[in-house]
């Protein structure tokens, strides 16, 4: 939404109109602030506790999203279950068709790979907590997802994934869930949206 132009600036060299022009100028500021607050260039969504839940949905994403970031802080799935991120559009949650290829790496060794198609996934390791930033962009009816994260436990891993999924329309929500049957043990997730 564009910002409404301010009225003419009051000019004392026109004393006959100065007072009314000044009144109109100052009266426009509440609208200006409302428009600025309605159009932030970056939207920070609340930090959500994942403890004991199977999934969390970040909904109400604004229009004209340039880039989305899923922020993960010490997320601990049960056992060696994996973290999974899925996107929703106005047609619903997409649970198939993800071409995800995650690995985790320690001391120069790629420890594992996966061919999961139900979401963009990151490997877990029993007892290891995942922190990192997953980036999502959409273009030409596709959503591109990639992530680098820190999997801290014993041993530590750096995890990385790249993924693409077809989307029929713009992304309206993001689901953070797990590839498995158990709830998250602990951790937090949030989202940042760059417009």
């Amino acid at each position: 939404m564009p910002i409404t132009p301010l009225p003419p600036v009051p000019d004392r060299s026109n004393p006959g109109t100065f007072a009314n022009t000044a009144d109109a100028f100052f009266a426009a500021f509440p609208t200006l602030i409302a428009e600025l607050n309605a159009n932030p260039s970056y939207v920070s969504l609340p930090r959500v506790d994942l403890t004991g839940v199977s999934a969390v949905d970040f909904t109400g994403l604004p229009d004209s999203v340039y880039e989305m970031a899923v922020l993960l802080d010490e997320v601990l799935p049960t056992g060696a279950e994996q973290l999974l991120v899925q996107v929703s559009t106005s047609s619903g949650l997409i649970t198939t068709g993800y071409t995800s290829r995650p690995i985790h790496v320690t001391a120069g060794t790629a420890a594992a790979t996966s061919t999961t198609t139900t979401g963009a996934n990151l490997f877990g390791a029993s007892g290891s907590k995942l922190s990192g930033v997953m980036m999502l962009r959409q273009q030409d009816n596709k959503c591109f997802i990639e992530c680098v994260g820190a999997l801290i436990g014993s041993p530590d891993y750096t995890v990385i994934t790249g993924c693409v999924v077809n989307i029929p329309s713009p992304v309206t929500a993001i689901r953070v869930t797990r590839l498995g049957a158990s709830n998250f043990v602990s951790g937090f997730a949030s989202m940042g949206i760059l417009k």
Partner: protein, 199 residues
């Protein structure tokens, strides 16, 4: 960040008896308004050429911070790009404060997934190259003082090889992030440039 509503707009025609007081209150709110606008749209640069790094100490309240850097030299140097965020309590200098790991690659082969250094997040690791460039992104996690960070960096004109770094994770501050340091202890960057913007 949300911009605070201004006091009642003064109206000389509509409320002449309170015009003076309303004007004073309105104008006194302008510095905060300007500060919040800058906080939503700000961008600055820093030149640390000839120095070991730079300390940025005037960050406004932000939800998103994007730092781009370039370190360049005619000869190979060992500048390692240590990134340390901080709050009013000081820079974060303990290893356990960083839940961050990195991964760096030499040519096409991933050669390590390693912990960060002992006192910060190393954005670039390999020594002996001529030029490094990269981007650090910091996202505040909601109302908490937990920040997620992500780094992509490369040193494309290394005399040894073409290499790059990816790094990601989180760190926790005792209060909001107000400063950061980007440096390589005891190593001077002949050319060092940094641009940072926040939202």
């Amino acid at each position: 960040m949300t911009i605070t509503a201004l006091p009642t707009s003064p109206s000389r025609a509509g409320r002449p008896s309170t015009f003076q007081a309303e004007s004073a209150a309105f104008l006194s709110a302008m510095p905060l308004f300007k500060q919040e606008l800058e906080g939503d749209l700000g961008e600055k640069t820093a030149d640390f050429s000839g120095l070991a790094g730079v300390l940025i100490g005037d960050l406004p309240a932000f939800d998103y911070l994007d730092v781009s850097f370039l370190v360049s030299s005619a000869t190979a140097i060992t500048f390692q790009g240590l990134f340390q965020p901080g709050s009013a309590s000081g820079l974060l200098t303990t290893t356990t404060s960083y839940r961050v790991r990195d991964l760096h690659a030499l040519n096409t082969n991933i050669i390590a997934g390693n912990p960060v250094g002992t006192s910060g997040a190393r954005t670039i690791r390999v020594s002996g190259s001529n030029e490094r460039a990269g981007r650090i992104r910091i996202c505040k996690m909601g109302a908490s003082n937990v920040y997620a960070m992500r780094v992509e960096a490369s040193w494309p004109r290394s005399s040894a090889a073409f290499t790059n770094t990816r790094l990601s994770g989180t760190f926790v501050l005792p209060s909001r992030m107000t400063q950061f340091q980007f440096h390589s202890p005891a190593v001077v960057a002949p050319i060092g440039l940094l641009k940072y913007r926040w939202r």
